[in-house]
């Protein structure tokens, strides 16, 4: 329950990001603000200060003010408010994690149920596709897909997704994780199909679609639902890694991964730029994992899916 509480808190503050940025911090976290300044203790301070130490090259952004009304965590190297970006970044990270997990679970359930229920050549074909994706290291597959789609966006017939769209990381992450959900579900469906109540439904002349929807899905759904929080955590971590490699969320949009990447160059001078988003990712993922463990113990003690990932 503690996991759920922390999660709700994080989601809420991230959803309030625009209100915070406009009404409290009065800043636009997506526009660079190199010439900007702010007031600390009544004194006017430039956001980016010329280096005076060492050789004196370059600029250092201001550090944390620990004051929620402006630059709580300081500024990044373009003079943008890191705390406001952190909240906006959380929106992207949570959205991508949740949406890709949802998409992945829906597509994987459909494919897994079809493969397990119908068997034969459909099952053979789908299983081979799952096997290949399964054998392919997740990050390498995601990197290949991202780098190709980022240069051009995705165009299939009338469907057009721009290169900077959040849909691209959602689609890519959902696609690479499909076999991890679909394979166990296929096995589950195959064993359900042998049970008496399904045989009875087939014998009484129900259509295949009806059996899948009314009989098999309700029996397979708990496994997927229990797996969902873990999936969100996993996908969020994948998104942050891709964004860190600069092939996830594209600037000027932010996610926790891109902010860590922004902070890489400021690590020794302004460590909070990189530290804060990492802490957010870790807290969110821990609460999702605890939530997932709790849900598993409550609904699915035999844990059909957990062992697979």
């Amino acid at each position: 329950m503690a996991g759920l509480g922390v999660l709700i808190f994080i989601v809420t503050i991230c959803l309030l990001a625009p209100i915070y940025a406009h009404n409290i911090a009065h800043t636009n976290p997506f526009a660079s603000n190199i010439q900007g300044s702010t007031f600390i203790n009544g004194k006017r301070v430039m956001l980016l200060q010329q280096n005076t130490q060492g050789l004196g090259f370059g600029v250092t952004p201001i550090g944390p003010t620990w004051n929620f009304s402006h630059y709580f965590l300081g500024a990044d190297d373009q003079g943008r408010d890191v705390f406001a970006r952190l909240l906006y970044g959380g929106r992207s990270s949570l959205l991508i994690g949740t949406a890709s997990a949802l998409l992945c679970c829906i597509v994987a359930s459909i494919l897994g149920l079809i493969a397990g229920y119908f068997g034969g050549p459909i099952d053979w074909l789908l299983s081979r596709v799952f096997d290949i994706i399964w054998a392919f290291p997740i990050y390498l597959l995601a990197i290949s897909l991202s780098v190709v789609l980022l240069t051009s966006g995705l165009n299939i017939g009338p469907l057009h997704i721009g290169a900077g769209s959040l849909f691209l990381p959602i689609l890519i992450i959902a696609a690479v994780f499909i076999p991890y959900v679909a394979r166990p579900l296929r096995g589950l469906t195959m064993s359900l199909r042998e049970r008496e109540f399904i045989q009875a439904a087939i014998g009484s002349g129900s259509s295949d679609l009806r059996i899948l929807w009314k009989e098999i899905l309700p029996n397979a759904a708990p496994s997927v639902i229990v797996f969902f929080p873990l999936m969100v955590a996993f996908n969020m971590l994948t998104e942050s890694a891709l964004s860190f490699l600069s092939i996830g969320v594209q600037p000027p949009a932010a996610s926790w991964g891109t902010i860590i990447n922004d902070g890489l160059g400021l690590l020794y001078t302004r460590p909070w730029v990189a530290l804060a988003p990492g802490i957010m990712i870790a807290i969110t993922a821990v609460s999702l994992n605890i939530l997932g463990d709790g849900a598993r113990d409550a609904f699915d003690p035999k844990a059909k899916l957990r062992g697979s990932i």
Partner: protein, 322 residues
């Protein structure tokens, strides 16, 4: 055993072929922009694009193009970058590979040791304070992004404390084991610890669950009835049986690590392995290099998994039949 090895190797070859086709389709047949322009990089002139089109046979049929690409990658090994003109891809990868392998092998030894120790300690002390603590650390370990943990480690060892406690930590980089084995270990120490900490927690969790299951088995009751000590039962009986699931998990994770966390750890610690090569080519969208890294990386993972499976069959004869 021989039949199993042959079957496993042939299936690995089949998987490699499928992966190469998949990579080929992703890079050359994704709908959208002209693959020649994509491969030539962002600032390519029409001449270079024409050159790419010719070099990869982009006006030919798909199966021929696949053959040409495989030829460039594995047989002629002359695939070259169009961003750093003239830089050959395959030699770069082969040069970087030992660094990645040093990183992953060292880390895997560490995480197996720590994970197994943690699992045994947690199982031996179940119900006491230390057990849930180890279990929570396991969850925390998967929840922390690998590259971020590396940055925190850097901040601690290279930042303010570098002039006092951590003055013995070398600046990031790599020294070959043949050049100076001590410096090699010293440079890799923190990358190893970072990578290992991610997985040690998971292994402790899995091993504890297996051990607790095993301790409820009949053979443990028999051992207790014989009057064996609790420690001997845990180590000699329950642990030996639980080791099987650890080995199979290790096969999967080893692969995931090479293609994932190791890549990011190299970037953070400035280790010039395949991961850093991939990262720098991603920064300037140097597609031939990315393609080479992905292909060689995936092949290595498939091979490593096959080796682990064969080791698994060696440990557990039941697997050879299935």
């Amino acid at each position: 055993m021989l039949a199993f090895v042959l079957r496993r190797v042939s299936s690995a070859v089949l998987v490699m072929f499928s992966i190469s086709v998949l990579v080929f389709l992703i890079f050359f047949a994704t709908p959208g922009v002209d693959p020649a322009a994509r491969i030539a990089g962002r600032s390519a002139t029409p001449q270079i694009i024409a050159q790419v089109r010719h070099a990869f046979g982009l006006d030919r049929a798909l199966p021929i193009r696949y053959g040409i690409m495989m030829d460039h990658l594995f047989f002629k090994q002359d695939l070259s970058s169009y961003v750093n003109i003239g830089a050959k891809v395959v030699p770069q990868i082969l040069q970087a590979a030992p660094i990645t392998i040093s990183l992953v092998l060292g880390a895997s030894v560490l995480w197996l040791l720590v994970g197994i120790a943690g699992g045994i300690v947690a199982a031996a002390n179940r119900g006491k304070f230390i057990d849930p603590l180890i279990m929570f650390l396991g969850i925390a370990a998967i929840s922390v992004p690998a590259y971020w943990l590396g940055e925190v480690v850097n901040l601690i060892t290279q930042g303010g404390l570098h002039h006092s406690i951590f003055s013995w930590v070398p600046s990031s980089g790599y020294v070959s084991i043949f050049q100076n084995p001590f410096e090699w270990g010293l440079h890799l120490l923190f990358p190893w610890l970072t990578l290992a900490s991610l997985y040690a927690g998971i292994y402790a969790r899995v091993l504890r669950a297996e051990l607790v299951n095993a301790l409820n088995e009949d053979y443990v009751r028999t051992a207790r009835a014989k009057g064996l000590s609790e420690r001997r039962i845990l180590i000699r009986h329950a642990f030996r049986c639980s080791l099987i699931s650890i080995v199979s998990l290790f096969g999967l994770d080893f692969g995931a690590l090479i293609g994932g966390a190791a890549l990011l750890t190299e970037v953070v610690f400035g280790l010039p392995g395949v991961g850093l090569l991939t990262y720098s080519s991603l920064q300037n969208l140097d597609l031939p290099v990315i393609m080479g890294c992905v292909m060689y990386g995936a092949f290595f993972v498939v091979l490593a998994n096959a080796v682990v499976d064969i080791g698994y069959a060696f440990l557990d004869p039941r697997v050879r039949v299935a």
